[in-house]
Symmetry: C2
Subunit: 148 residues, 2 copies
């Protein structure tokens, strides 16, 4: 408990990643820090770095566009339209924190953490156990958390 | 443009503030930093400080419970259930940034910034102009941004 040390990112689902990236750039001046396709999650994503954080990490907006119809994000968009899809807290040890949180009766969606943005390891908590908020836990890849 | 320097908070609407505060405390170890009632917004709120940010500010979760049936948050909860209600970016100058963003064709919901959490000055951008995300701009009260 208590190992979550930052807001790592806010995950925002959109229909058209390029248009949404352009909105955030032209409206606020936020630039793309990283892009990738996560085949397992079925998304194409852009990370916009907003600020650095007191634990040595950073906070991002994660813009997500589905790349296939059966992805979780595609289904969520069809139901909800564009908007905030999830929030993510950063931790140095997602394995231990996920196990601790599971012991408290919150459903953890993966048996083992999976690959997230920029080589991170992630898991999700069931939104129905989190007052409606789909909540992700993230441990950054070592190269990032050490600031190289 | 480009004066938004942090994720200031994530606003989360809930039916029962005390129960939701207890969920965040017992599950993650997040403690209440500040509570207040904002009569104008029609909410009772708890701010949970998650991390400090590289611009000298901090990032919070803002848990919101409506205190009257006709408040925006009460109507939102009736339609959507509990979940992420808005996101907020911190700026040193909400007046200038709101004017600049309005000039770009994004609807700004207030003619003048209003009172937000902890004496801050806030405004909101129309979610339909922001790819579905109700977006707040926040300038912290001077006493906080100077770190006293």
């Amino acid at each position: 408990m208590g190992m979550l040390t930052r807001i790592d990112h806010i995950g925002i689902a959109c229909f058209d990643l390029d248009r949404t990236v352009e909105f955030y750039r032209s409206t606020y001046g936020f630039e793309v820090f990283h892009t990738e396709v996560n085949e397992e999650q079925g998304v194409r994503e852009a990370m916009l770095k907003i600020n650095e954080t007191s634990d040595g990490g950073a906070s991002y907006l994660q813009l997500l566009e589905p790349v296939r119809e059966d992805s979780t994000v595609a289904k969520w968009l069809a139901k909800n339209g564009e908007g905030v899809h999830h929030i993510a807290f950063g931790t140095a040890d997602v394995d231990t924190d996920a196990a601790d949180i599971k012991d408290k009766g919150v459903r953890v969606l993966y048996d083992e953490p999976r690959r997230g943005s920029m080589g991170s390891r992630i898991t999700f908590l069931h939104p129905k156990d989190c007052h409606g908020v789909l909540t992700e836990l993230v441990t950054s890849a070592p190269v990032e958390s050490e600031g190289h």
